[in-house]
Amino acid sequence: MSVALKTFSHKGEKGYWTVFPGLCKGCGLCVEKCPKDCLKWSDQLGVYGTPTIEPEMDKCIACGICANVCPDCAITVEKNK
């Protein structure tokens, strides 16, 4: 497997949010689509050496739009039951 599946997870009130820096290319499509503007650039670097993203979990509603629009499937969002 070429992908080192390192993950950065964030736990919030509404859900569990994970980014895979080995897949994230830093295109920023998710940042524009977030309805709550809670995604910002992270200090961690993605696969192309560009910044990956991290959410402000107090604002995140775990809608999953960022995961849907990611062309690389680098984000997973699990809603709290």
Binding site: V3, C27, G28, L29, K33, P71, D72, C73, A74
Partner: protein, 250 residues
């Protein structure tokens, strides 16, 4: 807690991250296609053909049988596979250069013969792999490498409207639609209907998808979405153009 990325099952995890540029629309179209293949449960029956151009970077994208063909010749290769073994579900995946420029003769003739294959065309308004030259789908006034003052419709004519052209020459049973990466749910339903149309043996299925190309448009994420969501649908109307399931509304 989840440790694996939520990818479609038909995606090949070993080849990820895929080779497309950051923000490329191909990833989203192939994600919708992968989900459609998963939902129909046809992964073991699909033959996937990719063209020259950016679409060839999908050659190791799926865990399905894949063939990469000459420029514009994906449609006849998939037609041949379909004729040799009608049980195989053939998907011809191409860009706008491979479908409307060098491969337009094959697309037009396959559509006129009503071949029972599915053609998926990704329209990003330029020739992206060679550096963003003007393509048949470049919008009027749009700046590219070879039209630095914008496309002049007096000199270069108007962009090709492929689904309208295919819908005009196909006979009954064909499915023609245009989706966009700005509405992935709709795009997935179009791709699913196109595959179902082929599985039912009705006729030619053609789906064009509007897609982004931030590298050659030289746009940031905000302008990329603005171009895909506002500029492109002004000329390329999104929707189903021909659906054999809806009869009698002519």
């Amino acid at each position: 807690m989840s440790t694996l990325p939520q990818m479609p099952k038909s995606w090949r995890l070993e080849s990820k991250p895929h080779k497309f540029c950051p923000g490329c629309g191909h990833g989203l179209v192939l994600k919708a296609l992968g989900e459609a293949i998963d939902e129909l449960g046809i992964q073991d029956r699909v033959a996937f053909g990719c063209d020259i151009g950016c679409s060839l970077l999908a050659w190791d994208f799926f865990n399905v049988d894949t063939v990469q063909t000459h420029h514009g010749r994906t449609t006849p290769v998939m037609t041949g596979i379909k004729r040799a073994n009608p049980d195989i579900i053939c998907i011809a995946y191409m860009g706008d250069g491979g479908g409307y420029a060098i491969g337009s003769q094959h697309l037009v003739n396959a559509a006129a013969r009503n071949e029972r294959i599915t053609a998926i065309l990704v329209n990003n308004c330029n020739y992206a792999m060679t550096g963003g030259q003007m393509a048949p789908t470049t919008l009027p006034g749009m700046k590219t490498e070879t039209s630095p003052y914008g496309r002049d419709v007096e000199q270069s004519g108007y962009p090709t409207q492929g689904p309208e052209m295919v819908a005009a020459i196909t006979r009954e049973g064909a499915y023609v639609a245009r989706g966009t990466i700005a509405n992935l749910k709709q795009l997935k339903s179009y791709l699913k209907k196109a595959l179902e149309n082929q599985m039912a043996g009705n006729g030619f299925s053609f789906v064009e998808s509007l897609a982004s190309c931030p590298t050659n448009w030289r746009t940031n994420a905000k302008d990329t979405w603005a171009f895909v969501e506002q500029e492109m649908p002004k000329y390329f109307k999104v929707g189903e153009i021909k659906n054999p399931a809806e009869k009698g509304d002519e």
